[in-house]
């Protein structure tokens, strides 16, 4: 549907250009209206009590109109790179907003599926709590074992290799690209270390392996959920900047209009 609408827009703009009509003005007003509508989606989320339609419907329209703006924008600028300061700034802002939107669309379509494939689904805000809790549990049985066996092999290994891993979120980008390299590397290292341990220590090490896997799954959840939230840190603020400069552009082009019908 979006493709058909885009083709129609290109065809109509071609006819207007052929007719020596002011295609830029028409497409400009259309683009401005579309951007306002797209920005209103955020407002809709903030005003759930107004019964402005289902959020899912808004999202779907947001996606359709957002993709269409690329065609309208291309028509508006005549498929060329503008060279004025305000126009260049506006174009840059639009491209950032559009590209971040497309990336966000891709992320929101792909990451939720991946979230269900590994680890447990947890609330994003509680991930630090769980991470702390896992760390506390791990340190408890590691250092309890130390008191019992008088051996410092496991605790030393924990202190040297595992504490940084448990103390904060790790391997953000690797999780994002679905890479288990670090996880397997750490587990392999723990397995290799096991040959130097006695039975009781090996048992502790086996519990550590389980905790490492749980922590890594938690990191995986954090990485994907954070990405799902943080792309909006580009998309939403720049939308406001885009609106500001779109209004400025609107004032300027209206003031300096050349009088084309």
């Amino acid at each position: 549907m979006v493709v058909v609408a885009a083709l129609m827009l290109v065809w109509c703009s071609g006819l207007m250009t052929t007719s020596l009509r002011d295609t830029a003005r028409t497409s400009g007003w259309g683009l401005f209206a579309m951007i306002c509508f797209l920005a209103a989606y955020n407002l809709r989320k903030k005003l759930p009590f107004l019964h402005l339609g289902a959020s899912a419907t808004w999202l779907q329209l947001h996606i359709y109109f957002g993709l269409l703006t690329a065609v309208v924008f291309g028509v508006h600028v005549g498929w060329r790179v503008p060279n004025g300061l305000v126009e260049s700034l506006l174009t840059t802002l639009y491209l950032f907003v559009f590209v971040s939107g497309v990336i966000g669309l891709f992320l929101s379509r792909s990451l939720p599926k991946r979230l269900t494939t590994r680890g447990e689904e947890v609330l994003f805000e509680r991930i630090p709590i769980y991470r702390k809790r896992i760390q506390a549990e791990v340190e408890a049985f590691v250092f309890d074992g130390l008191e019992a066996s008088e051996s410092t092999a496991v605790s030393q290994f924990y202190t040297d290799r595992l504490r940084p891993f448990f103390s904060q979120t790790r391997n953000y980008w690797q999780h994002l690209v679905q890479s288990n390299r670090s996880r397997f590397g750490l587990l392999k290292e723990m397995q290799a270390y096991g040959r130097y341990l006695n039975d009781s220590e090996r048992e502790v090490m086996m519990r550590l392996v389980t905790s490492v896997e749980a922590k890594d799954d938690l990191d995986y959840q954090f990485s994907l959920q954070a990405t799902l939230k943080y792309w909006l840190f580009v998309h939403v603020p720049l939308t406001y900047a885009l609106l500001v400069f779109a209004v400025l552009h609107l004032l300027l082009v209206s003031a300096f209009a050349g009088g084309i019908s």
Binding site: L15, L123, S254, G258
Partner: protein
């Protein structure tokens, strides 16, 4: 989303999460967030780990399992929890951080916009792009093209609301582009009436190839048609979009954009373009040159083996657009210069002594004084007065009455003339003598005064001066001395009332001296002024091509070629002079090559120059010869200019569109048959096709016609 089974999922074991709150407890990341959470402004409430509840008479600890369950110490006696939570530094939620960032960017954008608008360099900052190199050289500030945009508050904001500034902006353009004419904003710079007329004419012309449907143009016209009748006209920016860089093409238009206003549309130059209508031969050439006879006969018969090429006579102009005719000396002179300086033709008579029937006059008692009657060689003397001399005589008041009286009279045979006519002849003779006396005595000033009195209002002053100053006063004196030696004494005696001197009283040159002088003149003065004894006249032959005096005579006399029903005596005389000097057999043979144009509204004028392309004229169609001639071979011209293989049968020595059957210049330039077949666009389309990309409308057509 629910917590997984391995994590605490019961309500008691978890802190209450508030992800939509802007602030979160600083201990949340440690796994034990404050149950109250921060204030909406992000201040720590410094709460307790629980809020004890009263069970009958005692306070009971209500600490959640997430915080370790019921404490051993229990609440204080006043019901306060004994475990106060240490103050934290609340943190913003993800949503809040995004909101802060959004607000910051929004505010920064507004600030940046205001900085741009308030900057002293705001015109440069808000400029949507560089002007073209031509405009950037003459335009410094926005208001020079955008009226009313001097200041931000009163100008830009106001103009953004008021749409009426559009046309004044076009007016600003036209303040510099005055060459576009008064109707510059109308389509093609023409009025709607002219456009309608052109459309009607176009409808009558044939179409060479079948009309082809251009769907895009037809659809565009149906949906977004523009009215050509708008009084306001089209804004310049309709076609010319500025601010697209120094090298932008302001005149770029597609074929479809050109056609969208036209009644007919077609797909391309090679596919549906209207046929050329008699292009480019709209009129006869200004110079009479018969390509057919020259290439068919004269060049072949000429004693030369040199191959004749078009470039022998034609060359592109400096702009390469028009093929101009080369100078006379490098083209026609080789064969035709001797015809101009032909001393076998009589020159143009300026002053002549008409052949009179002296016997009849004296027999009837008419006293005319001395008159050269007896010269044996005066066989060519005419019994009429030359037109050039009549111009001088018309400056005398009595001449008109004399001329009227002598209408139809042969001055050389007055046997049947009545006494009144004989008296008029006598008056005419004395008028001739007085005019010659005035020339001899007063010279050029007198000639100039008399010609001015006759020609003022019809001929420009410089031309009158040129003609007057060309009279050879010295030769006129010689003429008087040779043929009328008593003239000075006779005129003076007649003016004072004294008796006329007799021939015996003045030394008369003998016939031998006169014959000797005449022979010398005829042999040595093949051109210029000379005395022609056989016709008793002072005559002029041209000195060569482009003779100034002969051109002046033709130009002056052409003023007499007007509608005969409204002719004045002066115009009739000028017309006679024109017949004399503009004959293809007259001295110089000017009109043998230089055509004369005349229509009902304007006087006749000789085309002394071949077509001279106007430097400031923009027609609907343009063609540039140079690239075509350069790209093609020597026979490039003949690829487009094909000889008319079937010319009209020759019924005259001259082509009738130049010289009519009475041996006078034909003056209608639009009545002609070209040497060449009208061009067809089929040949052009071989190169200017859609595939070549050189079939744009603007390749050959101008939009602004002026």
């Amino acid at each position: 989303m629910s917590d997984g089974p391995s994590h605490a999922s019961s309500f008691d074991e978890n802190d209450y999460a508030r992800p939509n709150q802007p602030w979160q407890c600083g201990w949340a990341a440690e796994g034990h967030a404050c149950p109250l959470g921060p204030t909406p402004r992000g201040l720590c409430r410094s709460a307790y780990e629980c809020s004890p509840y009263k069970d009958r008479e005692s306070w009971v600890c209500a600490r959640t399992q997430a915080r370790g369950g019921t404490c051993d110490e229990g609440p204080l006696p006043d019901g306060t929890c004994c475990k106060q939570i240490q103050r934290c530094q609340p943190t913003r939620s993800v949503l809040s951080r995004r909101g802060v960032l959004s607000f910051t960017v929004f505010a920064a954008s507004i600030a940046l916009a205001l900085i741009i608008l308030g900057s002293p360099n705001r015109q440069r900052l808000v400029s949507p792009g560089e002007l073209t190199s031509q405009h950037s050289q003459v335009v410094d500030r926005c208001e020079e093209c955008h009226p009313g945009t001097v200041s931000f508050a009163s100008g830009w904001l106001h103009d953004s609301i008021d749409d009426n500034e559009a046309q004044p902006q076009s007016d600003q353009c036209l303040q510099c582009h005055t060459e576009l004419g008064p109707n510059a904003k109308q389509p093609h710079g023409q009025t709607s009436a002219i456009l309608a007329e052109l459309t009607t004419l176009r409808g009558k012309q044939p179409t060479e190839s079948p009309h082809r449907y251009n769907g895009e143009v037809t659809t565009a016209k149906a949906i977004f048609s523009q009215s050509a009748d708008s009084q306001a006209g089209l804004a310049c920016a309709t076609c010319h979009r500025e601010h697209r860089g120094k090298m932008a093409d302001l005149k770029a238009l597609t074929n479809e954009q050109c056609q969208v206003c036209h009644a007919e549309s077609f797909r391309g130059f090679s596919d549906g373009h209207p046929a050329f209508a008699a292009y480019p031969y709209k009129r006869r050439t200004r110079l009479y040159f018969d390509h057919l006879s020259h290439y068919g006969e004269h060049f072949a018969a000429a004693e030369t083996t040199r191959a004749r090429k078009c470039s022998d006579c034609h060359q592109p102009d400096s702009a390469g657009r028009y093929m101009l005719v080369k100078e006379f000396d490098s083209t026609c002179a080789e064969c035709h210069s001797h015809q101009i300086q032909d001393d076998t033709t009589l020159g143009i008579a300026a002053i002549s002594l008409p052949a009179l029937d002296v016997d009849a006059l004296r027999k009837n008692g008419r006293e005319i004084g001395q008159w050269p009657r007896d010269y044996p060689l005066h066989v060519e003397a005419a019994s009429t007065i030359s037109p050039l001399q009549r111009l001088l005589l018309q400056s005398y008041e009595e001449y008109e009455a004399i001329q009227t009286s002598l209408s139809g009279i042969d001055l050389g045979d007055l046997r049947d003339a009545d006494s009144i006519q004989l008296q008029s002849v006598e008056s005419l003779v004395w008028l001739l003598k007085e005019s010659l006396y005035d020339i001899v005595k007063k010279g050029h000033p007198e000639i100039h005064r008399r010609l001015t009195s006759v020609l003022r209002g019809q001929v420009s002053e410089p031309r009158i001066a040129t003609l007057a100053n060309s009279y050879p006063v010295v030769i006129a004196i010689e003429m008087q001395e040779v043929w009328l030696p008593l003239l000075l004494a006779e005129v003076e005696a007649r003016r004072t009332g004294a008796e006329l001197p007799q021939a015996d009283a003045v030394a008369t040159p003998g016939p031998g001296r006169v014959i000797q002088k005449e022979r010398r003149e005829s042999e040595m003065l093949a051109s210029g002024w000379y005395l022609h004894g056989s016709s008793l006249s002072l005559r002029y032959r041209p000195n060569g091509h482009a003779d100034p005096l002969l051109k002046t005579l033709v130009d002056i006399s052409a003023r007499g070629v007007v509608n005969e029903s409204r002719s004045t005596p002066t115009q009739l005389t000028l017309h006679d002079l024109f017949d004399q000097v503009a004959s293809p057999f007259a001295a110089g043979r000017c009109t043998k090559c230089h055509s004369v144009d005349h229509d009902q509204n304007t006087p006749a004028s000789a085309n002394w120059e071949p077509y001279q392309p106007p430097l400031d004229q923009h027609k609907f169609t343009r063609f540039s010869h140079a690239p075509h001639v350069t790209l093609l071979s020597d026979d490039a011209c003949s690829k487009c200019h094909l000889f008319n293989a079937a010319p009209a049968p020759a019924t005259s020595l001259f082509r009738t569109e130049f010289i009519d059957s009475r041996w006078r210049p034909a003056m209608n330039p639009l009545s002609f048959e070209s040497n060449f077949i009208s061009m067809s666009n089929i040949g052009c389309a071989e190169c200017h096709s859609d595939e070549s990309g050189r079939d744009r409308c603007l390749t050959c057509h101008n939009y602004h016609v002026h």
